[in-house]
């Protein structure tokens, strides 16, 4: 997966041995500090609840710099979705790189149509973020498209410019 946003650009590859966790390698360019560095990441599924029409997840995520272990982050994230609705949150603490960042975000979405398996799926979303470096909350629209194993998510805010997320699941 690849992400490009106001604070970082990164490319991230991960492997999921089982549903409980995934391990990954991430290469990130931090736009605030100007540093670029590789890190190892772990995502752990704390809890999942499935129903006939929904899935709810709670994750713990953490990562550590491979060439500088003072660069690290940990986050608590969760989501709930049906085929029509999506709600997610994240609370992330980033340390090292000469600054401390605490970022919290919430994302809500709705699918304007329900595609069958294999169709192009579309989500209209809104994301709201706030961090300690800039005390203002920013809220912006996000469009998510996915088909097969490919997902693209594009958001825009006049303050942070484009926020792009690309993912392919092998």
């Amino acid at each position: 997966m690849a992400n490009s946003g106001a604070q970082t650009d990164n490319i991230y590859w991960h492997y999921t041995p089982n549903i409980n966790y995934s391990l990954g390698l991430d290469y990130q360019r931090d736009k605030i500090s100007g540093e670029a560095f590789p890190s190892a990441r772990l995502t752990y599924l704390i809890n999942r609840k499935n129903t006939t029409t929904s899935q709810r997840n709670l994750y713990l995520k953490t990562g550590i710099g491979l060439d500088n272990s003072t660069n690290h982050f940990y986050a608590l994230a969760g989501d709930w979705e049906t085929r029509r609705l999506f709600a997610g949150f994240s609370a992330k603490q980033v340390s090292g790189m000469g600054y401390e960042l605490f970022e919290q975000s919430v994302k809500l979405g709705i699918a304007p149509y329900l595609g069958a398996y294999g169709d192009l799926h579309t989500w209209l979303m809104i994301e709201s973020k706030k961090d300690n470096l800039d005390d203002r909350r920013i809220t912006y629209p996000v469009l998510r498209f996915f088909k097969g194993g490919a997902l693209i998510e594009v958001g825009y805010h006049k303050k942070t410019d484009w926020d792009v997320h690309l993912m392919y699941r092998f």
Binding site: I19, N50, T52, T53, Q55, R83, Y117
Partner: protein
């Protein structure tokens, strides 16, 4: 201005796709549930989809799995990949709308319900029913 036009274009494309899908789905679902009883329960599947599936694999054993948590294509792809590795599975159909997975097995296969349930669980989903349809 350019950004506004791009956003408007994306929204228009989405609305067009929505209209296309909604028009395709404007049909009655009455009579789309088979009255076949399997294991003491009604076989609740889309009749047309089930018939199409069965007719493509004449003579094979048909298994209908009711799945919880299957809310997106990523979930469905995982199921398809998992059962696709089983050489005794001759056809797979994942129906997101109904939360059903249809599998066909070669006639001489002994259906292992525990293994099926385990495969579903290994994909992070839950099984509520496994129905083997008598030939």
């Amino acid at each position: 201005m350019k950004k506004f036009l791009l956003a408007a274009l994306l929204l228009a494309a989405t609305a067009s796709q929505a209209a296309h899908h909604e028009m395709g789905h404007m049909h009655s679902h009455e009579g789309h549930v088979h009255d076949t009883m399997v294991d003491g329960q009604k076989l609740s599947v889309d009749a047309e989809r089930f018939d199409n599936f069965v007719s493509a694999v004449p003579g094979d054993q048909i298994v209908v799995i009711s799945v919880q948590g299957m809310v997106c294509d990523f979930c469905a792809r995982g199921i398809e990949k998992t059962f696709g590795k089983d050489s005794s599975v001759t056809k797979i159909d994942v129906d997101l709308a109904s939360g059903k997975v249809l599998l066909s097995y070669s006639p001489d296969t002994e259906i292992d319900r525990a293994s099926i349930e385990k495969n579903i669980l290994n994909n992070g989903l839950n099984t509520t029913a496994i129905q083997v349809v008598e030939k």
